[in-house]
Amino acid sequence: MSDFYIILTGTLVAISCGILGCFLILRKMAMVGDAISHAILPGIVIAFLWSGSRDSVTMLLGAGTLGVLTTIIIEFLHKKGKLQADASIGVTFTWLFAIGVILISAFTGQVDLDQECVLYGEIAYVPLDTIILNSGTDIGPKALYLIGTVLVLVILFVSIGFKQLKITSFDPEYAVALGISATLWNYLLMAFVSFTTVASFESVGAILVVAFLIAPAATAYLISKKLKTMILLTCLIGFLSAILGYYLAASLNASIAGAMATVCGLIFAIVFTYIRIMSKKVTKVTKFESVKA
């Protein structure tokens, strides 16, 4: 049963991250996911210091707030400060993460809150922390419910706002001319990225979250002609990475999150190579035909 729970958790994280990742890639903001996943560290620490508890909801609120704040700072530096997008991302998340590290080492020395568990998570422990009802029935891991809720919210958000997300990604200025606020949808998307990242990361770790945000969507981007196809392919690739990653980890007795992220990369490499070979073949054919003509 625990195999099933781990694969299911991985898949749910992969799908919710992947759907949002598609839009991040199309907006050329792929690294924002990486930035958010690091920059929320001080949020987690402050939430802990404030409330003294380590339950998921408190952590989510602290981290989510910081995630949105990160986006606002990045946007501000980029738009108003005229700094390049990548430089604003780099500056913002490194100093926020550093503040988080200082807060942890200075104030939470005596308690169990360390970078290890925040950054790396451990998907293998997911099946251990289950919800047991008063009647004594075990209804499955806590993380699964948290991530399941996030996935439902992400799907709702993207299906309701699909037109708006698409047009603000493709041509934000035109969207504004139509009366659709590009800024609003950008912040909504980033808020979802923050909460998804935080919710996922407690169970699977930051590295896997960043991998799932970008790699499956980047792979799907290479082979999709339409946005809907890209999103569906991303989900499929995410699912494959979770399942293959789990069995790779089991056979090597290695880190599950690491193996899942590796499989993401491998699938990308295979698709990329395939595309390169196919495009070479096509150019050869056209060359031959043009000679004949």
Binding site: F170, D171, K225
Partner: protein
């Protein structure tokens, strides 16, 4: 020479726009007639695109205000259509010609409605008008420059607006597309639509437009083509740029003695 009109479709008062405190448009004050093809002419960096974007509310204004048909912009948003510069978007975006043109309907559709049959018909009709209906399923990355421009035009047509703003629609397009666009502009103005075009090719100004706005940070002229397209006003607009000046005088010559080959 700034000619004000009665019952203007667009009225601009004391408009100033600055980027980073550097003024780009200075004290522009003009009114435009309905149902005409209007060209915005001026040298590079004269603020032509800025004027267009300012009228559509895409930029913050430093001073002044704009009225469309006597009402503020927000109330008239649905009457306005926009063709941005082709280079302003990423043409590798995974979407088809049909889907891009459908975006023209998003303003009317709002948040919860999905495109209906009527919207699909409008989209196909717009595609036919620009001669792109055969390409409706093509991915946009596989279009030529001229075809990209036609898709943008179709998207603007799908909005079914009364006022069209076009930012350099003739830049880098093939002759066939240029012809198609001109034909379309003619049809639109016959239906009493107002079309405002940013244009930089002086050769074709007199041929294409009914009314021109000469701009070089400040407004030099705004009036009917036969009154505003004069050597003196062009010199004032392009002043100092000698190579351009000689080109202009050539043009004026040609304009006076049409080539009868």
């Amino acid at each position: 020479m700034i000619k004000q009109v009665e019952n203007p479709i667009i009225e601009i008062h004391d408009l100033s726009v600055a980027y980073e405190r550097k003024p780009v448009l200075w004290d522009v004050d003009l009114s435009l007639p309905e149902g005409q093809l209007i060209g915005i002419i001026g040298p590079n960096g004269a603020g032509k695109s800025t004027l267009l974007k300012a009228i559509m509310g895409l930029l913050p204004l430093n001073s002044g205000y704009i009225q469309i048909n006597g009402k503020p912009l927000e109330e008239m948003r649905h009457k306005i259509s926009y063709v941005p510069q082709r280079e302003s978007v990423d043409w590798d975006f995974p979407t088809s010609v049909y889907e891009v043109v459908m975006m023209g309907r998003y303003g009317q559709l709002g948040l919860f409605n999905r495109p209906k049959k009527a919207d699909a018909e409008i989209v196909m009709d717009s595609l036919r008008k620009v001669g792109m209906d055969e390409f409706k399923n093509r991915q946009i990355s596989q279009l030529s420059g001229g075809q990209q421009q036609r898709v943008f035009l179709a998207r603007a047509l799908a909005q079914q607006a009364d006022i069209y703003f076009m930012d350099e629609p003739f830049a880098g397009v093939d002759a066939a597309t240029e012809k198609a666009i001109i034909k379309l502009l003619g049809e639109m103005s016959a239906q009493n639509k107002t079309v405002i075009v940013v244009h930089h090719d002086l050769q074709s100004v007199a041929k294409y437009f009914d009314w021109i706005i000469l701009l070089n940070m400040r407004l030099v002229a705004s009036g009917p083509i036969n009154e505003a397209f004069t050597p003196e006003l062009l010199q004032e607009t392009y002043g100092g740029k000698l190579t351009l000046l000689t080109e202009i005088s050539d043009l004026i010559q040609k304009h006076r003695f049409p080539n009868r080959e």
